[in-house]
């Protein structure tokens, strides 16, 4: 921004306004000043953005100019404000500092050089205040994220040494807030293992909180022995009651792995298809899809049963993993290409690490991964 044209003087007295401009006229490289007589006239320039406002506190308003100061701060929160007081009301200048002005000057007691310096100083101070504020906001955000992350991405509760669960998460590039992706895996008494991955539509702290809520409800219902179809129905009821916006829905994929690990029952609710790796190869597992959770479209929760051959692995993931842009057009990575990547990976590595896979995808999409990615890699070894 051009600093020479973004200083606004709000001064009702023409003589005083002339004085300020004349003082500055003698200073080499002094900022150019735009002059308006009243707050009403200032609205236009303030909304276009100014870096510094010189405000005469003697304006005829209710409390000696302080309400004008508040109005200016509201209209141009990013501008530095320098107030001008008369000889007799310096106390107002001090009160103005409490109301957010950067500095005050007594009219007639400053020359052009000092005024120029005061303007520059006020602008710098405002900038420093804002940087400190942003830093504070970033710190609060980081703490909030850490809390949400514990809720969304827990440690799996698996004791069977022959069933390994690897998890991966990569936040999207678009914002500092975690998305609503979540996962969990729990081993029940008797050896049955349940796993879930889900994604709450939308990307604000509300969706992330709702994701954490759903994940905890899922674990609670699982540990309480709720049957899958009943569990999903309860989860839908809960989402309907807890969501902050009627448009919010969640997709999920849930697995129930039999104690002998030879059979896997899969429930899909509007979620991307998981990938199975076994002796027969690497492939997408299609199933009867129920619409996403939260739309109340279907009271039945269909499932399919998979019987993997030999040692097997399954990859569950959220759509961020397949929706990265590849190339310049609208083309995205897609599930088929993800299958290719997994195939390539298992050919070269005995134990595919999920982080490596996510990095491969990120590299292919050349940093275009705007959405969050969550992934779960389950492996049953003999």
């Amino acid at each position: 921004m051009d600093s020479r044209s973004s200083i606004l003087l709000i001064e009702d007295d023409e003589g005083d306004a002339l004085l300020v401009r004349e003082e500055l006229a003698d200073v080499p490289q002094a900022p150019a000043i735009e002059w308006v007589r009243s707050l009403a006239d200032a609205v236009g320039p303030l909304s276009r953005g100014v870096r510094c406002v010189l405000l005469d506190l003697g304006l005829p308003d209710a409390d000696g100019g302080l309400s004008t100061l508040r109005a200016v701060r509201e209209l141009a929160p990013e501008a530095a404000v320098l107030v001008l007081t008369g000889q007799d009301d310096e106390h107002l200048g001090i009160r103005a500092l409490g109301e957010g002005a950067q500095d005050y000057l007594v009219k007639g007691a400053v020359d052009g050089r000092l005024l120029t310096r005061a303007i520059r100083y006020a602008i710098e101070r405002r900038r420093a205040d804002q940087a400190a504020l942003q830093l504070r906001e970033a710190q609060l955000q980081a703490r909030e994220n850490a809390r949400l992350e514990r809720g969304l991405l827990p440690s799996p509760l698996i004791s069977d040494p022959r069933l390994s669960v690897l998890t991966g998460y990569r936040p999207g590039r678009r914002s500092a807030v975690l998305g609503g992706d979540f996962f969990d895996a729990v081993e029940l008494p008797g050896g049955v293992v349940r796993a879930v991955i889900g994604d709450v539509s939308g990307h604000s702290v509300d969706e992330a909180a709702l994701g954490a809520c759903l994940r905890i409800a899922w674990r609670t219902l699982t540990l309480a022995g709720s049957e899958p179809a009943q569990l999903l129905g309860t989860l839908e009821q809960m989402l309907l009651h807890e969501r902050h916006d009627d448009d919010v829905f969640a997709t999920l994929c849930m697995l129930e792995i039999a104690a002998d690990r030879r059979r896997v029952r899969m429930y899909l609710a509007g979620h991307p298809l998981p990938i199975l790796v076994d002796e027969q190869g690497v492939r997408l597992i299609a199933g009867a899809t129920h619409p996403p959770v939260g739309l109340s479209l279907d009271p039945e929760w269909p499932s399919v049963t998979i019987e993997p051959q030999g040692e097997w692995s399954m990859l569950l993931y959220t759509d961020g993993l397949v929706e990265g842009r590849v190339g310049r057009g609208s083309e995205r990575l897609g599930a088929e290409r993800l299958v290719e990547l997994v195939r390539e990976h298992v050919r070269h590595h005995a134990q595919p690490l999920i982080d490596t896979l996510i990095e491969r995808v990120a590299a292919l999409c050349a940093g275009e991964l705007t959405d969050d990615i969550a992934a779960l890699w389950l492996t049953s070894s003999a």
Binding site: R174, D199, S201, G202, H203, D246, D247, V248, F249, T251, L268, A269, G270, H271, P272, L273, T289, H290, P291, P292, L295, L297, D319, E323, G329, S330, R332, T370, D371
Partner: protein
């Protein structure tokens, strides 16, 4: 005023999405979407379509998706929102000519069973009339 057809309007979106409106008067409004419906473009798309329906005083919408090269869950959220908004008397939403990419996500999410899809404009209009006559449909 309400009897006059709405003139076609076109607005460009920075997020690679364009919207064009046709029709209304007494009939349904046709919103022609082209580009990518994702987290960046979805909110403004929803707002502009809702505003256009209000302006045209219609609750019947044909959403022409033949020019949509990509749609993610933010786009689904818009479709579901419009479906809910336009449900009920004299209202309805039909998707017209969705591309392979759009059909894929509709099938994947099981929503192909719940959102009416037409391949031609005539068929879309028929579907809207059927919805209107069948009050048991949500």
């Amino acid at each position: 005023m309400s009897d006059l057809p709405t003139p076609p309007t076109q607005t460009a979106d920075p997020a690679l999405l364009t919207l064009e409106f046709e029709g209304a008067g007494h009939g349904p409004l046709r919103a022609i979407v082209a580009g990518e419906i994702d987290f960046a473009s979805a909110p403004s798309m929803q707002a502009r379509i809702t505003a256009a329906c209000d302006r045209a005083r219609t609750r019947q919408l044909i959403l022409d998706l033949a020019g949509v090269g990509f749609m993610d869950s933010s786009g689904l959220r818009v479709l579901l929102h419009l479906r809910r908004e336009l449900a009920g008397e004299h209202g309805g939403l039909v998707l017209l000519g969705p591309t392979e990419e759009v059909r894929h996500i509709l099938t994947l999410t099981g929503l192909d069973q719940h959102l009416p899809v037409a391949d031609t404009l005539v068929r879309a209009q028929e579907l809207l009339r059927e919805t209107e006559n069948d009050s048991t449909e949500p």
